[in-house]
């Protein structure tokens, strides 16, 4: 798909797009051939990031690595359900890690995780997703992140990476809960405009 886009746009691939193509080829080798070397490539790319992601709050390095292992094994076993049209590999890996983190940190473990479906669940909104999948390759999401004010990006980071509920973010930054929410709305509004208009 990217190759088609490239010829249509007459634009060279940037580093991010090249990396994304590389990751996708690794995933498809894992899915189709159970290629361990391809998996090792995915591990070396994602495991250090996932470790940061799992090192929230009280988590020890040991626990974080256990969770990294669990997340990466899910990448191995679920590789067939990755749908390139739905978005970047990192987005898929994020949803796997997020679900795992909810399981470990936010519930007793005996409750089924049916709230946040796995990324591979069929959805009734293919058009929007196709669109997002394509535009995401264009780096729009990364661009949105770079172009929002620091104070909004900080909130997104605390929420998505540091795993902090809105009330905790408010306490950490010593700002009202309403301010946390309004910064989230502004950040998301900006992303939505970028995705809709591409500008």
């Amino acid at each position: 798909m990217l190759a088609v886009m490239e010829s249509a746009d007459m634009r060279p691939l940037d580093d991010k797009q090249r990396m994304e193509l590389h990751l996708r080829s690794l995933i498809s080798r894992v899915a189709q051939d159970r290629d361990r070397q391809a998996f090792a490539g995915l591990f070396d790319h994602f495991a250090p990031r996932l470790k940061s992601f799992m090192m929230r709050k009280s988590a020890s390095a040991e626990l974080a690595e256990d969770l990294v292992q669990e997340a990466m094994i899910a990448v191995w076993t679920k590789a067939q359900s990755y749908e390139p049209s739905k978005g970047a590999v990192a987005t898929w890996v994020f949803t796997i890690a997020r679900n795992l983190r909810i399981d470990r940190f936010r519930r007793d473990g005996n409750m089924p995780l049916t709230e946040l479906g796995d990324y591979d669940e069929p959805s009734d909104a293919p058009e929007g997703e196709e669109l997002l999948g394509r535009k995401q390759e264009d780096g729009l999401v990364a661009r949105a992140l770079e172009s929002i004010p620091h104070e909004q990006r900080e909130i997104l980071l605390l929420s998505f990476v540091e795993d902090m509920p809105q009330s905790e973010i408010a306490a950490r930054l010593a700002i009202p809960l309403g301010t946390v929410k309004s910064r989230m709305r502004l950040a998301y509004g900006h992303l939505r405009r970028l995705l809709e208009t591409g500008l």
């Binding site: 159970r34 361990r36 998996f39 591990f43 994602f46 495991a47 250090p48 990031r49 470790k51 940061s52 992601f53 390095a61 690595e65 990294v68 292992q69 094994i73 191995w76 076993t77 679920k78 359900s81 739905k86 978005g87 970047a88 990192a90 987005t91 890996v93 994020f94 949803t95 890690a97 997020r98 936010r106 519930r107 007793d108 409750m111 089924p112 049916t114 709230e115 946040l116 990324y119 591979d120 669940e121 959805s123 009734d124 909104a125 929007g128 997002l132 999401v141 949105a144 992140l145 997104l156 929420s159 998505f160 990476v161 795993d163 509920p165 809105q166 709305r185 950040a187 998301y188 992303l191």
Partner: protein, 216 residues
Amino acid sequence: MIPTHHLDDSTLLAYSSGTLDEAFMVVAASHVAVCPACQAAVRSAEALGGALLERVEEAPISEDCRARTMASLDRALFTGRGPVTPRTELPLPLASRLSVSRFSELPWKKKAPGVAMLDVKLSGRANGQLKLMRISAGRAMPEHGHGGEEITLVLKGAYIDHMGRFGEGDVADLDEAIEHRPVVDQNLDCICLVATERPTRFKSLTARLMQPFVGI
């Protein structure tokens, strides 16, 4: 029916980052399940999560962790697409927490004339509370505010307040300052799923709604 009242963007983001409290997460998920617009919005928010994951500082992985992971691949079972989930009358996130699959089988507790409630059990780490509410057709609820965080999803029937008509799948994710006086449609009982903060700081939902009936 396609919902017309949606989750607030800040709720969508918190939901997608996995940081919503369980009570609110169940309500949000039950709305997203029937709302194409919010499904697309969640995908966009998840893409933000993916982009943020790419930006985090890398933490060095021990050789042991890498070796253990590689060694366990042979034992890991490949999973294809998951089995089709059974359809229940209740949203799946809710059905998985109750032992019934139909509204008529729910063990309602009468709280006042025309008002029945049911607590939904959550895991021990949940901070909020989750309740099902059944309000009889045609009944007007007393005017009440929302002292703390509160999200309501209509599962069956409909009600009208000054914000508009809330039918099946619609969600009221309102500012806590808003007071309203919902009136349920004439021909059908209204069943709602309501997530609230644990009533330590605020009077409980039940207390707020029952006040006019029981005179406390």
